[in-house]
Assembly symmetry: C2
Homo-oligomer: 339 residues x 2
């Protein structure tokens, strides 16, 4: 078995860049929407291994992608910690964290339990996948999860979480550490059930200036990554909106840094030479005509490093993208060849 994706994560030579897309199993796919209707609500879909496995495999079958990412949401592993989670349709936390005493009521199961549905989904997907296609597990980064826990939903201004971190620095650090430890156990379980690489999504990293990012986001992400070092699988950090943090990211203990489309690909490759780079076409480009998508994808590939590069979007694919536009992106990468 030689996975083009895993080889690229380890910065070994490959015939062409591997390609997958964040949120590749999603609403832009008619076959996803059909299963989503069948499942009823989103959390039921996540928690039904037969359906979640099917949804995970859909984009791989359709596009021949180099990696599948298990279908779930970054917030589902918060439920075993005692969090009341619903989607209406955006995420809503019924018992948000507003005070240091709320942090103490978060209980991390040791050993990790409560996400058996995901383990079963991983096993089903791994059995069905072509051996050359890699299977990714994932979780949210401590800062991003803490933001949801304190804000209670998707925020625009992140004032509640910043208020919490500034007012109760000890409690915030405790919360971030607890989340790092919980997510390390959660990812370990994913690897034990078939995940061959893990991605940590720091979706809200870009809300922080450099000093705060170091303390509130990067330090707990390091704590999480360091607990995964013995697993022997590539660790990917999706550092969304972190063009101002490249110097800090250079020392992140992981194999791959995922960058968004505002961050320059060649600049990131130059500064992050010790990591593979993943990204970073603007998801908005997939709204343009296929010929433009093709040109923009080729321009991205031209800036990419020769080894240690994984083609992807710079953020999740949006629901309004025509399937043929996703095809244009994926095919352009697949038809590229290292000279």
């Amino acid at each position: 078995m030689t996975s083009r994706f895993l080889e690229a994560c380890w910065r070994r030579p490959v015939d062409r860049p591997p390609v997958w897309v964040m949120r590749q199993a999603g609403r832009y796919l008619p076959e996803y929407r059909a299963i989503r209707r069948k499942a009823g609500d989103f959390l039921t879909l996540c928690r039904t291994p037969e359906l979640a496995a099917d949804v995970t495999l859909q984009p791989v079958r359709r596009f021949g992608l180099d990696a599948a990412i298990v279908f779930s949401d970054i917030l589902t592993p918060l439920v075993p910690l005692g969090i009341e989670l619903s989607f209406t349709p955006g995420p809503h936390i019924g018992n948000p964290i507003r005070h240091p005493s709320d942090v103490r009521r978060l209980t991390v199961p040791v050993p990790w339990t409560g996400t058996g549905f995901l383990d079963e989904t991983l096993e089903r997907v791994r059995q069905a996948l072509d051996p050359d296609t890699a299977l990714l597990g994932f979780c949210g980064a401590p800062w991003t999860l803490a933001s949801y826990l304190v804000e209670g939903t998707t925020s625009r201004s992140f004032t509640r979480i910043k208020q919490f971190a500034l007012t109760f620095p000890g409690a915030f650090a405790g919360l971030a550490d607890r989340l790092a430890d919980a997510m390390a156990a959660y990812l370990r379980s994913q690897v034990e059930h078939g995940a061959q690489a893990v991605q940590i999504f720091d979706s809200w990293l870009g809300t922080l200036g450099r000093e705060d990012a170091r303390e509130w986001a990067l330090a707990p992400a390091v704590r999480l990554f360091e607990q995964l070092g013995d697993l022997g699988v590539p660790r990917i950090y999706f550092a969304n909106g972190a063009g101002h943090l490249l110097d800090e990211l250079a020392s992140m203990p992981c194999e791959v840094i995922g960058i968004d489309w505002r961050t320059g690909l060649s600049e990131a490759a130059a500064k992050l030479g010790g990591h593979a780079i993943q990204g970073n076409l603007d998801p908005g480009v997939l709204m343009g005509p296929p010929e433009v998508i093709r040109q923009r994808t080729l321009a991205m590939l031209a800036q990419a490093p020769r080894t240690g590069y994984i083609a992807n979007l710079g953020h999740g694919i949006t629901p309004d993208v025509p399937v043929s536009h996703m095809t244009a992106f994926v095919r352009t990468v697949q038809e590229s060849h290292h000279a």
Copy 2:
């Protein structure tokens, strides 16, 4: 008359950095909320000079700020172009631009008309202001206005505007040029009625990678700024989320660059030596305890250039900030002195 604010815009020595705050006339102020209730809806408040002038002056009276910014919204001058605008409470455009033919129906009044209420507000404010306090006019940047016009409301993913720009590049360029010309006429009118500096808000600049930012945002902003060169007032470009665009911003034909809190202040000052810098405390910091606000503000001032610097937040103040926290920020700047 010597305005500390205007002197700093022109990069002349001042006794201490001038200070004002984006959205300083806003919902965090109880006296604002009282007038807002009296006015009924937001657009009525903008269009009633007596009330808009009062609201403009409120934070200046309370905090002794170095600049007042006329109370309005960046979308109000789109109404004279034929746009149906309402706030519910977020902005909503009844006739969004979705096709090139929609661009042709946008008509720019020549000479500029349709915002007489703002001219009257400016005159009222200028008469009431202390002569040393500067009065700012403002508008939205072409990219930001085009985003609202095409999306129809505040967007998260900006897929419609990017689809439009990629699919109809000529029509997008025409739209951006038309907006640049309209805003130039609008700002000219503001200066004729008392504005002593003008700020152009490119709130959505940070949604673009470097190449797209150059073509879709910076080029039309340059077109706008160049039409204002003969007015003799400082031109400020609020380049929100543009830490990846400092090289491009260095040649922007304006006097001041406003930066957000993700952009490093000392790095921006080093790269933008030909401009004064405005910013950039994280608005979220104003949610922290006053002593933390004081420390963070002092840390910001320590990074600021000695001349050509205006203290501000890195984005608008949020409605949930306690008034005493705004006081902590403003006082810390006011009590600082250049050695």
